[in-house]
């Protein structure tokens, strides 16, 4: 079985971000705060578990992003994947999701795969689109927000459970090849092993360069980026930690959530 996993490098949720007026996009100040998208970590783990259960399985990793995003491919190989392709983009700007999905879908690793795994969502763009769009490019059946999966005996495809609202799950049978987007909670992603990481760091990745010009007719664009609206007053408490604690106790007791003497 051949599995392709799409992984993206994203900033930590606490990373300092600001608006880059000239670029019309978001600027992440500190480049040391990048890591693998949590949802994609779960997708890599799911692939590695299949490989452990079905010897002969190979896992290929693809990531599209600037030079620094190469480390997430090596990390995925450290977790147990076999090879990786890095599609290097000139920068960090917004790429139309259908353009991006088209880039990945055009790889031979995508058309040859029996199973393609994506995350349910990238934590920076939060679209939930790249997976289902790739499935459409490749005419594959697709299930999103997968929280459980079983590879069936040969010829019977894959059975998954997808998470829906209200504590319900939907069971879906898909023929292979198929594309699944993985929801967190499906597994606990392992740490890369030292020996595999050493191999990963020596491995030569396939490197492709995409030209920003290839996105000549994007279906959507970013008009501007702003700081979000405040929905409530949002009083920031000032002072030392203990001064803030005193203020908070007063507020909570004034509103009779607490009794202080």
């Amino acid at each position: 079985m051949k599995i392709l996993v799409c992984v993206k490098q994203v900033p930590e949720s606490e990373a300092v971000v600001s608006i880059d007026k000239d670029a019309g996009w978001v600027d992440v100040h500190d480049t040391s705060v990048f890591r693998m998208n949590h949802f994609d970590e779960c997708a890599v783990e799911a692939a590695v578990q299949i490989k452990e259960a079905f010897p002969g399985t190979t896992i290929h990793i693809i990531s599209v992003g600037p030079e620094r995003s190469e480390v997430v491919i090596r990390r995925a190989i450290g977790m147990g994947a076999d090879h990786g392709t890095h599609m290097v983009t000139p920068g960090d700007g917004f790429v139309d999701p259908s353009t991006l999905a088209g880039w990945i879908a055009s790889l031979s690793e995508a058309s040859d795969a029996d199973l393609i795994l994506c995350g349910a969502m990238s934590e920076d763009l939060m679209q939930g689109q790249v997976g289902p769009l790739m499935a459409e490019y490749l005419s594959l059946p697709c299930a999103t927000a997968v929280v459980q999966m079983t590879i069936m005996p040969v010829g019977e495809g894959v059975h998954v459970e997808r998470e829906i609202e209200g504590g319900y799950r939907e069971a879906v049978a898909l023929q292979l090849p198929a594309l699944l987007t993985i929801q967190t909670g499906i597994n606990q992603p392992r740490y890369p092993s030292l020996s595999k990481l050493l191999r990963a760091n020596k491995l030569k990745l396939n490197t492709l360069y995409v030209d920003a010009m290839e996105d000549s007719a994007p279906l959507q664009g970013v008009r501007r980026v702003t700081l979000p609206r405040k929905l409530r007053e949002g009083v920031f408490l000032e002072g030392s930690a203990s001064q803030k604690a005193e203020q908070l106790l007063t507020i909570l007791s004034d509103r009779s959530f607490l009794t202080v003497l």
Binding site: G128, E163, G167, Q175, T184, V222, T226, P228
Partner: protein, 330 residues
């Protein structure tokens, strides 16, 4: 039948579950009416179901809009491929301006693929609308809600998924009921089949008695630090400990305590968010809380945009200071 053509209209795809129209459907109608102010076009509701008649009639009555019920035996359960192929067949020859879909587990499952088939841009998780220099902009959260991006579409038809909770239901008016039209569809065999839809976990946790929710996020860092959250809850009467999804995924709290779009929706008098960034999927489960206090090391965290009181501190040091200050007073 002619008035049921979708060309140039704003189409709303109704969402329903176990015979009931989901609240997001009425929010979508409200969203469509807002969009209509910028882009005057008739609103048509499409509802897909095994039988569709009851749902279509009820929608026409409650919304006053024209409703097209699409029925097929394969619609007894939700299936993404069946939805995509039926909607594509209906919409391709009469391209609407907009297709409005819920940013729910089902809506986000089929919207991107449908958009691609219609050669339409798909903008997901839309929470607001605006017009800038004659262009309609669709606001969506990026970077965990720390930044808002205004997106524009470059295509004739645009597929939009709307974040639940962003638009209340359309205001009540006395409207004449809309027309209903039913159409039977045929669907060719698919490569995916929905087998069942079943409740996964039930809970006897009763939030109605909880006046206060003390909620832990990934920012607690380690399972041991959950003790701090529990200690804090123990000094606040009528409080319950809950958490964001990562804390439940890690197994540190049980699923019934997950707050958010795939967990519980709560409206306590006080919600204390500790180490929670405030992503839309979490916020939709708690934003109706009476008073919101957030503790977070990141002054830009999105949770602060909906908090009444914002505390920029490390919860690991701040909560002990708070508990100490309280015990000195008691």
């Amino acid at each position: 039948m002619k008035n049921m053509q979708t060309s140039g209209s704003i189409v709303v795809i109704a969402e329903h579950f176990e015979g009931e129209i989901r609240p997001i459907t009425y929010e979508l109608v409200h969203f469509a009416e807002t969009l209509q102010q910028f882009s005057p076009a008739p609103i048509k509701i499409l509802v897909l179901d095994e039988r569709a008649e009851t749902l279509a009639k009820s929608l026409a009555r409650t919304t006053g809009k024209d409703v097209l019920g699409l029925r097929a035996p394969q619609l007894a359960q939700y299936n993404g491929q069946v939805y995509t192929s039926i909607l594509h067949e209906i919409l391709r020859d009469h391209p609407p301006l907009y297709v409005c879909i819920g940013h729910s587990s089902r809506g986000s499952d089929y919207a991107p693929g449908l958009a691609m088939r219609l050669k339409a841009a798909c903008i997901t998780g839309v929470s607001a609308l605006s017009v800038q220099e004659d262009m309609i902009c669709f606001s969506r959260d990026v970077y965990g809600g720390k930044i808002n991006a205004d997106m524009v579409s470059n295509t004739e038809t645009t597929v939009l998924t709307v974040q639940p909770g962003s638009y209340g239901p359309a205001p009540d008016r006395d409207l004449p009921k809309g027309n209903v039209c039913l159409k039977s569809m045929t669907v060719s065999p698919q490569t995916s089949t929905t087998l069942s839809t079943t409740p996964f976990q039930t809970s006897d946790l009763d939030f109605s008695a909880a006046r206060v929710i003390v909620s832990a996020g990934r920012g607690i860092g380690e399972e041991e630090n959950l003790e701090l959250i529990r200690d804090l809850a123990s000094v606040i009467p009528q409080s319950v400990v809950c958490g964001s999804r990562p804390v439940i995924d890690l197994g540190w709290l049980t699923y019934d305590r997950q707050i958010g779009v795939t967990g519980a929706t709560v409206t306590p008098d006080l919600y204390l968010a500790c180490g929670i960034s405030g992503a839309a999927q979490h916020v939709s489960g708690m934003k109706g809380s009476g008073f919101i206090v957030a503790i977070n090391t990141d002054p830009m965290a999105a949770i602060f945009n909906l908090s009444d009181i914002c505390i920029v501190e490390d919860l690991k040091t701040f909560i002990p200071v708070l508990l100490e200050a309280l015990s000195n007073k008691r």
